[in-house]
């Protein structure tokens, strides 16, 4: 084991962690399908009350890592800790009251309306006999307001636009009312405006004290919205910490095989990549 790298990473984490305890962490996590290992010996802590973005090239294992953290996959080795206890030893419903997941694969049954979808988010809070409470109704209402889909409540999911649909799914996860939300590429296939809408919702959730972990492809969006970044390649964490600490010209070269210059957005102050070109090619 590369003890040096681990301790170095730990230090970088500690600074961004502050005093808040981690809700979610992984210890020597190994994930894969069949005989193939995708995430290998990975340890990390998710800082509470912040937005963590997982970045990395295609196939680096970031979605697999998220699936492992959300107990969609059983680890081959190591474990995921939720509130200090192994996530796989906890009741499914009790985990679902602490951690919500917005996966990439979602199916909308025919004719399902936006409001009906959002109500599914309350399922972990309902018992067999006690079904729909005022608390449930309030959370559904608030989630739909926050994601601005209240006006679409009665519309079938297959008849609203792509951006609205994504916000409706987000509303379902928000209605779950968990301190922790894992989002797998919440803005993929959305145009710039709709991406911003989703990121603004995410930012508001963090202001309410929630912890967000998201897989993001768009590195500039990640720089702008994330408080904490985890850069992955080949199933390993290459770097983690604040965007300023993680996003360097050298790391971009390692991650994506591109040359670029890191600049600061004159308006928002977040990092930008300029002059991006493939290594060995002249722009």
């Amino acid at each position: 084991m590369d003890t040096l790298a681990t301790t170095g990473r730990k230090n970088a984490l500690d600074t961004s962690l502050g005093k808040k305890p981690a809700l979610l962490s992984a210890e020597n996590l190994m994930l894969g399908y069949g005989g193939k290992t995708i995430v290998d010996q990975l340890s990390l802590e998710i800082p509470a009350g912040q937005i963590t973005a997982i970045i990395g090239p295609n196939g680096c294992g970031k979605s697999t890592l998220l699936a492992g953290l959300a107990r969609l996959m059983k680890p081959k080795a190591g474990r995921v800790l939720l509130n200090g206890r192994c996530i796989h030893q906890q009741q499914g419903r009790s985990v679902a009251r602490q951690l919500a997941l917005l996966p990439q694969q979602m199916l909308a049954p025919d004719g399902l309306t936006v409001a009906e979808l959002v109500r599914f988010g309350r399922q972990p809070h309902q018992g067999m006999l006690q079904r729909w409470s005022d608390t449930d109704a309030r959370h559904v209402e608030q989630a739909m307001e926050l994601t601005r889909v209240s006006a679409l409540a009665g519309q079938p999911l297959d008849e609203v636009s792509g951006g609205q649909r994504q916000r409706a799914w987000l509303a379902m996860v928000v209605a779950q009312d968990t301190p922790l939300l894992l989002l797998d590429e919440p803005t993929s296939a959305l145009d710039l405006g709709h991406q911003l809408e989703v990121f603004e919702v995410i930012r508001q959730l963090v202001r309410q004290g929630k912890t967000i972990v998201m897989v993001v492809h768009d590195i500039i969006a990640a720089c702008r919205y994330a408080d904490h970044m985890i850069a992955m390649k080949n199933g390993q964490v290459l770097a983690s910490g604040t965007p300023d600490a993680v996003v360097t010209e050298r790391l971009m070269q390692q991650l994506y095989g591109v040359n670029c210059q890191i600049m600061r957005d004159p308006v928002s102050g977040s990092l930008l990549l300029a002059g991006v070109n493939r290594t060995g090619h002249v722009l």
Partner: protein, 332 residues
Amino acid sequence: MKTNIIITTRWPVLLLLSGLLLLLVLASLHYASDLTLGETLSALVGKGNLYSVFLIQELRLPRILTAVFSGMALGVAGCLLQTLARNRLATPNIIGLDNGATAFAVASVVAVPVSLATPALALVGAATAAALAFGLSGGPGTQGYRFIVMGVGVGAVFGALTNFMLARADMDSANVAYPWTVGSLNARSEEVIVWLGLALLFCLPLALYLARSLNVMRLSDAVATGLGVHIRRTRWLTLTVTVVLTGFAVALAGPVGMIALAAPEIARRLIASGHVPVPEAALTGSCLMLLADGIGQHAFSPIEIPVGLVTALVGGPYLLWILLRQPGGKTL
């Protein structure tokens, strides 16, 4: 808003319940027109003259219970399996459960003299067909269509086996076995009615419980896991309930498979898309079975048509009409 939800989800159940009641009254009255409703009801609890008590308790009641129970079981089984596979084609009869149960039941009548009761063998047959269909397709996993294709193949093999056994059997045994192959409510064993009744007593609450998890699994396995659903457990329990209900229903009434396709379809039209219509499918199944049996007894009187043929003759075109009238149903 809260009361609204309750009203919109409850009225189809009430409607179906009253429809079922009406059919029950009609069915219990139609046998002999010399009994009034009052006489029928008192005969039901053992009062009145011997003739009416015999007529009601020995002839009508078993037949009506057979229709109600088997319709209910097939409706629920179809509804659960369709939802699990997210596919309308995934009904117990299409994936070979009915054929498996029939083949084993026929075998016990004509071919293999075993001490095990025919209904128990029908259950074993349904379980065998299910095990083969799911085993060969690698479990009831996310690829819903795979076990359907496997099931069609398994069903074809069992269907051929049944025909083979009937062709080889002597005339008398073939006649005894005949009701198993078409589906009939006439003179069914009372013992099996009790078996199916008990199975329903266990399986209906379980099905209602599973419906909640299955409902979420319609949104994809990943979303369902996120919402705390135990996917593997739900799958296996659903499959078990389906096999038990189908096995006993076929043991009682024969392969009246059309009910498992039509009842959930009608039930889905009655309620909002945010639910799995288990109670609705159960009641619709019972109604359809009573209705089909009534038609079978009267339409070509004095010849009685087996209920399985009626559901195929009347139910098939009706189902086509429903599907053609409201197109656009792709995902469950």
